[in-house]
């Protein structure tokens, strides 16, 4: 099982400190919500946890059963859903999924593809032959989830994942996140929604000036 540890992490942007000596531990098997007002550093926290950003000082270590994961190995186990994430606008949903899953060494069969679309609530006929660039925001969000689910990632970094989704979409995300956590995955969920925060197993609250947490 994977554990992500923040050890006295400091990070500034443009000279303005966002985190000062931040400590946190995120364990697999749980949904951990990261909350705080806008600008409190939720997305930055996720990027630090994913080793997509380096701390100015301190350390973010990722261990799997007490063995430190190398960056490339960790990247292979990472799946993210963020508002900034985009798929190739001139490839179809199927082409995008085949490409990204292929890069993870997974083959996407037609049956798996159909199952995934169904699981995330995408209508197969609505996406057939359509480029991802022509998808609505909600459809794009569901496609991000389809790739995440199929990738078999065991570290989920979700940044406002329910944004732009209807009630069924929000329920789908919670159901899948719960299922992933039950299978031992790390689920780190940045949110401002009190309802989503309530459903998490653990909460990391950011928003000090700069944020500290023990």
């Amino acid at each position: 099982m994977i554990t992500i540890t923040f050890d006295r992490v400091t990070r500034s942007f443009g000279g303005k400190p966002l985190f000062d000596s931040l400590d946190a531990k995120i364990r697999g098997g749980k949904i951990t919500a990261v909350t705080g007002p806008n600008g409190s550093g939720k997305s930055t926290f996720l990027r630090l946890a994913g080793h997509l950003l380096r701390p100015d000082s301190g350390q973010v270590s990722v261990k799997c059963d007490d063995a430190e994961l190398r960056r490339a190995d960790y990247r292979d186990r990472l799946g993210i859903v963020t508002p900034e994430l985009r798929f190739y606008p001139r490839l179809t949903a199927y082409e995008n999924m085949t490409f990204f899953l292929g890069l993870r060494g997974k083959t996407l069969t037609t049956d798996t593809y159909r199952d995934l679309l169904k699981r995330v609530g995408l209508d197969e006929t609505a996406v057939r032959g359509k480029f991802a660039g022509a998808f609505s925001t909600g459809m794009r969000q569901r496609l991000k989830f389809a790739v995440l689910l199929a990738s078999g990632a065991d570290v989920w970094l979700l940044d406002e994942p329910a944004a732009n989704l209807d009630a069924a979409g929000r329920a789908m995300i919670l159901r899948e996140a719960r299922q992933a956590a039950a299978s031992g995955a790390v689920v780190l969920w940045a949110t401002n929604d009190a309802g989503e925060e309530e459903k998490a197993d653990e909460v990391i609250r950011l928003g000090g000036n700069p944020a500290r947490r023990s």
Binding site: R47, G50, H51
Partner: protein
């Protein structure tokens, strides 16, 4: 199942070709630049023979600057469409690097297939050593593709990407550019005594590819 580098490269090349054919900006810009420049040269020369040195230099200037219109886009297009991050998360570094390098080379090769015959016809150039001529173009384009891919990756996050790309590209490609001009001149005159230089270009291409491979892991996995 762990993906082999070769399978990853094939996926990246296939994706680049599919996306490239649906978004023609990169290669049409390269072709337009090449054809327009060549037409201007042809009109300016008005049938005069500038000599093999100038003709060889003109060919490489055309190829080099035409490549600028498209070679730096391999990563900037990803950054512009917002797909660079997802590619970083799902794509193994070496597969992405070499996939993009091979695609760049393919793009330059297609460009050369259009540009070189036009150059030979419009500037009334006679090639006496076709073997050397083809080999130099092949090795030179490989160098431009290798250097261009690496420098595009290095400069992608920069706010002055275009300027930085040109400034960094020039000194890196000079060891390919200068012998390539000399060898092309020899191919035009039939003095094919420069095989050592050709070996030098191939060796430099290989050094560029290895250096890019070593450096790219840091670029890809470190922020």
């Amino acid at each position: 199942m762990k993906l082999s580098v070769w399978a990853g490269i094939r996926l990246v090349v296939h994706k680049e070709i599919t996306a490239g054919l649906r978004f023609r900006a990169a290669w049409t810009a390269m072709l337009m630049f090449a054809v327009t420049s060549l037409a201007c040269l042809s009109l300016a020369l008005q049938g005069r023979d500038p000599g093999p040195v100038i003709l060889a230099a003109l060919l490489w200037i055309l190829l080099f600057f035409s490549s600028f219109a498209g070679a730096d886009r391999v990563f900037t297009d990803e950054a512009a469409t917002g797909t660079l991050e997802v590619l970083k998360i799902y794509g193994p570094s070496q597969a992405v690097l070499f996939g993009k390098m091979i695609y760049s080379f393919g793009l330059l090769f297609v460009l050369a297939c259009v540009l070189v015959p036009l150059y030979l016809i419009l500037l009334d150039v006679t090639v006496l050593d076709w073997g050397l001529f083809s080999a130099v173009i092949f090795a030179g384009l490989a160098g431009i593709a290798a250097a261009g891919t690496l420098i595009a990756a290095l400069t992608v996050g920069s706010s002055v990407h275009n300027g930085l790309f040109s400034v960094l590209m020039f000194p890196v490609i000079l060891p390919v550019f200068l012998p390539a001009i000399g060898l092309t001149q020899q191919a035009l005159t039939g003095d094919g005594a420069g095989l050592a230089y050709l070996g030098g270009i191939v060796l430099y291409d290989m050094i560029l590819a290895v250096a890019a491979s070593l450096l790219f892991d840091y670029l890809w996995y470190e922020d």
